[in-house]
């Protein structure tokens, strides 16, 4: 079974530029998550989708971050404009069913973003 796919793996941009990340979850997984992991910290949930609907985006900085999951499969996360403090690894995860705290989540390899 293929795992969670993410691209690109690395991205370097200047502040005020825009960037987009792509994620393809494990086939059949209804729930998709985007996490931000700053160096030395645990992953922080940005947004959670159930199929193509948003379940939780309370920690998403909506003035600069946006995410969509068209057709309930793959997803994109965008930052526009980027700030220095956005430098982090962006992890995508998926789980089979809704209920993030009751079912294991499978993580992709992440995209390491550096904002200069």
């Amino acid at each position: 079974e293929a795992g969670v796919a993410q691209s690109p793996r690395y991205k370097i941009i200047e502040k005020r530029q825009s960037v987009a990340f792509w994620c393809n979850p494990i086939s059949g997984h209804a729930t998709l998550y985007w996490y931000q992991q700053i160096l030395g910290q645990g992953p922080k949930l940005l947004i959670q989708f159930q199929n193509n609907g948003v379940v939780d985006d309370s920690q998403l900085p909506k003035d600069r971050f946006s995410a969509e999951r068209l057709k309930g499969v793959d997803s994109t996360l965008k930052i526009q404009p980027a700030k220095l403090e956005d430098s982090a690894v962006y992890l995508c995860a998926s789980s089979l069913v809704l209920g993030g705290s009751y079912h294991e989540q499978y993580f992709g390899p992440g995209t390491r973003l550096t904002v200069t």
Binding site: G40, Q41, D56, L91, L98, S101, H103, Q105, P109
Partner: protein, 109 residues
């Protein structure tokens, strides 16, 4: 609301045991444990859903004390492959998972 993990870091020799603790200030519905190696994605180890539940995964096991709002991860007879950062993720009413700050484990030969 973020769970607190202790210790922050631990160094072991191969074959030694370790315990990593995860404490929450709020009532827990579940506890997840993940291991992350440098530059890689977190890998799921186990999930505990009931108070008092214990689980095992090879020589790694965990317990969940619902009353004390805490969980412990036990690593016995550690191997070099156990090195990495261990995260607990605590589940609360509403379904969101919140991760601790991590415990860095280094196993030396």
């Amino acid at each position: 609301q973020q769970p607190v993990q202790s210790p922050q870091a631990v160094i072991l020799r191969e074959g030694e045991d370790a315990v990593i603790n995860c404490s929450s200030s709020k009532a827990l519905y579940s506890v997840h444990w993940y291991r992350q190696k440098h530059g890689e994605a977190p890998v799921f180890l186990m999930i505990l859903l009931k108070g008092g539940e214990q689980k095992g995964h090879e020589k790694i096991s965990a317990s969940f004390n619902e009353k004390k709002q805490q969980s412990s991860l036990y690593l016995t007879a550690s191997q070099l492959s156990y090195s990495g950062t261990y995260f607990c993720g605590t589940g609360y009413q509403g379904g969101k998972l919140i991760f601790g700050q991590g415990t860095e484990l280094s196993v030396k030969p």
